[in-house]
Amino acid sequence: MQKRIRVTVNGSTVEANVEPRLLLVHFLREVAGLTGTHVGCETSVCGACTVLLEGRAVKSCTIFAVQTDGRKVETVEGLATNGNLHPVQEAFWNEHGLQCGYCTPGMIMTSCQLLSDHPNPSREEIRHGLEGNLCRCTGYMHIVNAVQAAAKKLSARA
């Protein structure tokens, strides 16, 4: 059984026949060919699969592709514009907010959401805002530094 869906991914339309049980994360990685979004668990805990659905951070391992028919999805690949990194990406780079990089796309997407809801978060607010994203490498210090640095950059722009 297949359903035809049309999803806008990073501004482009992706149209395909998919099984209803196909997870959004697999749709993105294998049908749309965007492997930046990662799978880290099966129980919706780790956050490596985080993308933005209509601007809200969601765990793409717990959403079916068919649920995104006619809707907009943004992944880490869509953040940079015209070859310029998004301030959150640049901040993660400057602050060494990543080591192995596996949690990073999800961490960046959640950070984008966090900052759009809370443009000037405290370190405590950042830590709680990132509860849905695990990192095993960094111990989080540099990630918090990165989100704070990005917050500054984004509010300077605004």
Binding site: E19, R21, L22, H26, R29, L34, T35, G36, T37, H38, V39, G40, C41, E42, T43, V45, C46, A48, T75, V76, E77, L79, A80, L85, Q89, F92, W93, N94, H96, L98, Q99, C100, G101, Y102, C103, T104, P105, I108, R123, E124, I126, R127, H128, L130, E131, N133, L134, C135, R136, C137, T138, G139, Y140, M141, H142, I143, V144
Partner: protein
């Protein structure tokens, strides 16, 4: 001809440079193993035992074989020709169960692989795997190592009913005398201390892609591994193919922490399948499989005794170490507790030790190296014992440590366990940490809190650790590391390192080394690793060795190239090589008014306008660095905690880490390693435990019931450094990847015990969950 590489006079070593690795990682364009795609690729799904111990009566595969999209099904009988999973631990008398890549007539732990289905997509493979019918005859199982040692315990392996894999007895000095004296006129403290089983939980699970080219009988294996070359040698042997017909590629690897320092059944199994079905095959481990079958860490029950004089001078230590090994040995499992014995005296100046290790089989996942690999356990034990001794003698825990450190001029320091600590100044980080804390003020705050009936504690941990593995005779497969450095005609530099980084940043730190040595910029340097067809044989990344050993090889190759460049420069300047100076990418001489750049010399080395007898063209240097010793980083961590009486929750008020890893190439990277290490130590101390029930069922089988530290669990880490260079390598670096983990858990436990000492608490085991602490407070308050 114009030079194409600008020269620089600034230096890069020591600078907080952002990483070369990051652009691909922050844009989601890196290639991890699940990102590898090949035309016609098939997917494997593995069927695993739900029982901890059982006989396999039958395996029925017909329904699965006929399912949609299925190309093949394999069971234990099909792979009997593949060699067993290797164990490199050559301990005298070690009992090694034959570890086939798929179970044949018995299963020994939950997750033990029994069959594999190959299908055209991963969903169909999972569907078909559900159709495999295995008829099991369950047997009694035992997952607790102390229970496994009791008479009458179910035998994990029928041929060894006592469940003992090995024993090891170590003695140094004269423990009997030390303890007899302490019995008479000193003090002896004893404690049972558990370092619980942990799941390493790298964010990326394991995964393998295998591709067989029938025409030239060549196999390529992509694997999320820390040891591409070592794994290649072993898997070639397992599959019976020539080593030079196997290419192993470690693509981007999403964390390892020791759990990918191994050779796993699935690596050979996917190779076998690729050779049979003649199509590329991919297997990606689910998180549940990762919890069940990727190696676990720790798993110690330690019975420790410390002998001392009444004024707090430690004189001797006895240790009985029960190591939970699991059902099989993976690559290094049995060696891990022997590393604990090596480090049992910690940083303290006493020379009488006695240790007995018992390696025990259990119906559980194999234990093996996990961040620290035996040293967190050892440090946890000695640091707890020192605190127990201090509490017993009513001595200050900082004072008792300072009293027992060897003096600064005692290095290299020979330990009772046969090691030579390379260099050290143990008082320095402790004093610095106490200064950052404002120790006397914090003790005052503690007194005030106690007057209010609050549980407020300060915990100190002074750790030392053995890393930068290491002198080859002391390692199973060689402890050297290799580097090839090439300078191209356009003066661009390529470094091929046998190290295999997976987040540690050597693409950046090695570029910093090269930039300084050759007068180029880090942007002119590319570091390649992880591909056995490109990189000369290497050992890999684990044991905090990539910079201390891998970097040393790079350094030596760079020095060789400097010397060769000088010889090419000499005729260009019209002088002899001994009169050439090379600084900041420019060659000059007091005997010449000319200068030439590294760009001009690189070109000359290839177009050779001035051939010289005995000087070959080209600029390639290969070095294999064999370290003369391990390196021994050290430091002091201090935690300040307050415990909520109502809930048992531990609030970390301050966390201070002062670490000494010798000279530092990139402080940003070192900070990151310390933070990440502390977070894993904290995970062990407060949150994590891999729990098997009495039937060997893995209760903590998913992230839903295994608590990995989240961002709000880890405190703000105040970190600083002291610098005591190591004499072991030319850069004076020591390694730091595991140090944070080693220093952390004793600091946290010592702080909690200190907080609860008004209740008479002398020890608490990890993880110090709110439930455990609350229960302890309840019991003690009633007493």
């Amino acid at each position: 001809m114009a030079t194409t590489t600008p020269t620089r006079t600034e230096t890069y070593v020591g600078r907080r440079l952002r990483r070369r690795e990051d652009p691909r990682l922050i844009t989601g364009t890196a290639t991890y193993v699940d990102d590898v795609k090949m035309p016609g690729m098939l997917y494997a799904a593995i069927v695993r035992s739900p029982h901890a111990a059982a006989r396999i009566k039958t395996v029925r595969t017909e329904a699965a074989a006929k399912a949609p999209g299925v190309h093949a099904v394999f069971t234990g009988a099909d792979v009997e020709g593949v060699g067993p999973v290797p164990c490199a631990a050559a301990l005298p008398g070690l009992r090694v169960p034959k570890h086939t890549i798929l179970a044949t007539n018995r299963v020994y732990y939950v997750g033990h692989p029994v069959a594999v289905v190959v299908a055209s997509d991963r969903y169909l493979a999972a569907d078909a795997a559900d159709l495999i019918e295995v008829d099991y005859d369950p047997l009694p199982a035992v997952a607790d190592p102390e229970k496994a040692l009791e008479p009458g315990a179910p035998p994990v392996h029928p041929e060894w009913p006592d469940n003992i894999a090995f024993t090891q007895h170590t003695e140094g000095g004269d423990c009997k005398k030390a303890f007899a004296e302490a019995e008479k006129s000193g003090v002896i403290v004893k404690q049972r201390i558990v370092s619980q089983r942990l799941v390493p939980m790298a964010m990326e699970t394991r995964g393998v892609v295998a591709e067989w080219r029938l025409g030239d009988k060549h196999l390529t294996i992509y694997s999320s591994t820390q040891i591409p070359h070592l794994m290649r040698t072993q898997v070639a042997l397992m599959l019976g193919i020539p080593e030079n017909h196997l290419r192993v590629i470690a693509p981007e690897v999403g964390g390892g922490f020791g759990s990918k320092l191994n050779v796993y059944a699935e690596e050979a199994l996917m190779g076998f399948i690729a050779m049979r079905v003649n199509k590329p095959i991919k297997w990606i481990e689910s998180r549940r499989e990762n919890f069940q079958t990727t190696i676990h860490g720790r798993g110690h029950v330690d019975y420790a005794e410390l002998a001392a004089t009444k004024d707090g001078r430690i004189t001797g230590m006895k240790l009985k170490l029960i190591q939970d090994l699991g059902a099989y040995h993976q690559l290094l499992g049995p060696l891990i507790p022997t590393l604990s014995v090596l480090m049992m005296p910690g940083l303290y100046n006493f020379h009488n030790i006695e240790a007995d290790v018992i390696g025990v089989f259990t119906n559980a996942a194999p234990t093996d190296a996990y961040r620290g690999a035996g040293r967190p356990e050892a440090t946890h034990v000695i640091e707890r014992m020192v605190d127990i001794l201090a509490a017993t003698l009513k001595m200050d825990p900082a004072e008792i440590r300072l009293k027992n450190f060897p003096p600064k001029d005692a290095f290299p320091f020979a330990t009772a366990t046969g090691l030579q600590y390379d260099s050290g100044d143990y008082a320095a980080p402790l004093n610095r940490a106490l200064e950052i804390l404002d120790y006397s003020k914090t003790r005052e705050e503690q007194r005030a809190a106690r007057r209010q009936g609050r549980y407020y504690g300060i915990g100190i941990s002074t750790y030392g650790e053995i890393c930068a593995f290491g002198p080859s005779p002391a390692t199973p497969a060689g402890g050297w590391e290799s580097a090839t450095v090439k300078i191209e005609p356009t003066a661009k530099v390529t470094i091929m390192t046998g190290a295999s980084p997976h987040g540690q940043g050597q693409e950046t730190s090695f570029a910093q080394l090269a930039a300084d040595k050759l007068g180029v910029t880090p942007d002119d340097v590319v570091v390649i690793h992880g591909d056995t067809s490109v990189v000369q044989y290497g050992i890999g990344t684990f044991g905090s060795r990539a910079t201390a050993v891998g970097g040393a090889a790079v350094y030596q190759a760079l020095e060789d190239l400097r010397a060769k460049c000088i010889r090419f420069a000499a005729p260009l300047l019209g002088v002899q090589p001994e009169d050439v100076r090379f600084e900041g990418g420019v060659f000059s001489s007091p005997k010449s008014s000319k200068t030439v750049t590294i760009g001009e010399v690189a070109l000359e080395a290839h177009i050779l306008r001035h051939p010289q007898p005995g000087l070959e063209p080209g600029l390639v240097a290969t070095r294999f660095f064999e370290p003369s010793n391990f390196a021994f980083p050290f430091g002091a961590h201090i935690a300040v905690v307050e415990i909520d009486k109502e809930t048992g929750e531990i609030q970390i008020l301050r966390y201070i880490a002062v670490d000494d890893c010798g000279n530092v190439i990139n402080p940003l990277l070192v900070d990151g390693q310390v933070h990440g290490g502390v977070a894993q130590g904290l995970g062990q101390a407060l949150l994590e435990e891999a729990i098997y029930d009495e039937n060997g069922q893995l209760i903590t089988g998913e992230l839903m019931n295994y608590a990995i530290p989240k961002a709000h669990h880890v405190p703000e880490i105040e970190s600083d450094r002291t610098v005591t260079p190591s004499p072991v390598n030319p850069m004076g670096v020591k390694g730091v990847g595991e140090a944070g983990t080693i220093g952390c858990s004793p600091a946290l436990v010592n702080a909690v015990v200190d907080a609860l000492s008004p209740l008479g608490v002398l020890h608490v085991d990890m993880p110090m969950t709110p439930q455990r602490i609350w229960r302890l407070i309840s019991e003690r308050s009633q007493a």
